[in-house]
Amino acid sequence: MSDSKQEKHSKAAGTPAPRNAAEWGDEDSFLGAEAALPPGEYGQTIPSHLPDPIAQARVLRELQRRVRSTLSPAFPVEVKRPLPGAALLAGYRHFALRSRSLVVDEFGRDPDYCEMAKPTLDLLYRHWLRIKLEGLENLPTDGGAILVCNHTGTLPYDATMLMHGVATEHPLHLQVRPLLEDRLARKAFLGVGLRKLGAVRACQENATRLLDRGSLVAVFPEGRRALLKEPTSPQNLQRFGRGGFVRLALRTGAPLVPVAIVPRPTRWLPDSAARRIHATARLALFPTPGPWTIQIGKPVDLSAKLPESDREERVLVAEEAQQIRMQVIAMINQSLTSTT
């Protein structure tokens, strides 16, 4: 193992780098070294018969570098010296890497973290909120789609439940990527946790990137105004943003899928009490028990409509946003009447 010794020696002497000689083009001759001397840049030089020590040192350094670069392999396996407390460090590394994967997707979705969060989400999904997911067959399986959902509550339980429901109940285990509003996305802990579960900050660039890769994107166009809704009448939806999701659909050609997320109004309580619970639930940050219904409607394809002017686009966007909103309201009403 003379090679490994030399490597050790070279590492100890502080070699800059092991590098692949053939690739870096180091195998050429270096004999014309004198030509690289600085061409008299420091004023008048006194002629000397002695060789220039600086230039010689540089030649020597370059020679040393080239010899070393041919000796050491690209991955110096042998130069690794055991650190003191290596076992402790290794243990720490295992601990630090628990529930996180070495590969996250472009937007930071962490498969190991999702796996770890699954039991908790499942408990919430099946036993606390008792969610019934309908219309899974309406989800397009080829290419992207924009799921337009209504919003419930303070924390994005609706988004996580939709994500979890589609991932577990759909035969293809599709991933839904909800778009988070800024205020949530930049929150400490919450923003990072949701990002690891698959949420993405809401902006046109991110959504376009997701749709180009054929993801299902869930938008909640009501935004924070959803908190103003009366708990007893979930069908009174707020304004659907500025219709940015329609513009996104027009630009990418992705279909719009209306989704109604209906929390059942509590029946055993008078309305006033339900209102009070709703008001305090904002502070409690935990959802009142279900059952919920999530209903996925028929996709609306806008790819045939291509607005040519700004006027046409504005008219189309306003119309389509309102139409989708009415569709979601109709779905909520239908789901409320069919079960009560």
Binding site: R58, E62, A86, Y92, R93, S101, V104
Partner: protein, 341 residues
């Protein structure tokens, strides 16, 4: 792109010849048979032995530097000018850094305006975008150069970028391109990030875990050579494959994360920078809170640059450690991470 194809670069001038990237660029270019002369401009001679390399002493922070470059350009008539004279890490001597980076770029551009080389390449960094909460996840080259308001280190780079942008607009006959490198890591690199990541303990901000992106120095050099040969125009993000959360990066490197609240971390950072205990000013703390990830699409489509190393391989190379086979082709979900030891 220009109308008529320009001749291949034959005489290349390079400022900052002693920087990590500058030396490697000179080495690779001196192996290219089509290159006739390389003019290395710096305060000391680079460690490159080749007949082609002509060293010229130049201190960009001196007032007469512009005339000096003009003289050199007059003498050698280079067709390509590479401006790489930027600091690899912030310094306490802000006035000098300003002279070198911001005013130095002005000197270079003055000389280029006089002598009109065919192409001009600027080395920049993705730090110029800044880490803001309201940015898209992938920053394209046309994104606003937000930077960090109070960081002189980054503001000087932004001003250099802006000057070069203005120069490109006023001189359409010159192919001006700026290469914005992500965090440069590798076995040879020595810069802000390598120093930050070499410490056993690294601060994190409680509740935040931004996505990090880096680029291997070898990929960076390949991008530089491509930009010189292809006469590219405009800005390009030169980034490696894949992103990783900051804490995962620390775990892979075996560093101990020290979670601190932001205000406290800023205070400590300021104190440590003032007492020279830390080499990173506290103004960079935004990069521990929000992601600053750049999009590589333009470099791939226009420059034909495809990064060879992904972030895990880059980190392994930075550590000088071998990689386990699974690291080369990682599975989507690796439950247990057996990385080193």
């Amino acid at each position: 792109m220009s109308d008529a194809p320009k001749p291949a670069p034959a005489v290349v001038a390079l400022t900052g010849a002693c920087t990590d990237l500058g030396v490697e660029t000179l080495r690779r270019l001196s192996d290219d048979p089509t290159i006739e002369t390389l003019i290395a401009l710096d305060v000391s001679a680079p460690d490159v032995i080749s007949d082609k390399v002509k060293f010229v002493h130049l201190d960009l922070s001196q007032p007469g530097a512009g005339m000096r470059i003009a003289d050199v350009l007059e003498e050698y008539k280079p067709d390509t000018f590479v401006h790489a004279a930027f600091l690899s890490a912030p310094t306490h001597d802000g006035a000098w850094a300003h002279e070198l980076e911001d005013v130095g770029t002005m000197h270079v551009l003055d000389a280029c305006a006089r002598q009109q080389p065919q192409r001009l390449v600027l080395f920049s960094t993705t730090l110029v975008y800044g880490a803001k909460p309201d940015q898209p996840a992938y920053l394209r080259e046309d994104a606003k150069l937000g930077g960090v308001t109070e960081s002189r280190f980054i503001n000087d780079r932004i001003r250099a970028e802006e000057q070069v942008l203005r120069f490109a607009r006023n001189h359409p006959n010159i192919d001006v391109c700026s290469l914005r490198f992500a965090k440069l890591l590798g076995p040879n690199s020595d810069n802000l990030f390598t120093r930050f990541l070499s410490r056993p303990v690294a601060p994190t901000l409680t509740g935040f875990d931004p996505l990090m992106q880096c680029v291997h120095e070898d990929d960076a050099i390949r991008a530089i050579l491509l930009a010189i040969r292809k006469s590219a125009r405009g800005a390009f993000n030169i980034v490696g494959k894949d992103v990783l959360p900051y804490t995962t990066l620390l775990a892979l490197l075996g560093r101990l994360p020290l979670p601190l609240p932001k205000g406290f971390a800023k205070f400590i950072g300021k104190a440590m920078w003032a007492t020279k205990l830390s080499e990173v000013p506290s103004t960079m703390i935004d990069h521990l809170q929000y992601s600053c990830v750049a999009d590589a699409t333009r470099a791939r489509e226009t420059l034909g640059f495809e990064a060879k190393y992904d972030i895990r391989q880059t980190l392994a190379e930075f550590l000088g450690m071998p990689m386990e086979p699974e690291m080369h082709s990682p599975k989507p979900a690796t439950r247990t991470a057996t990385w080193m030891n």
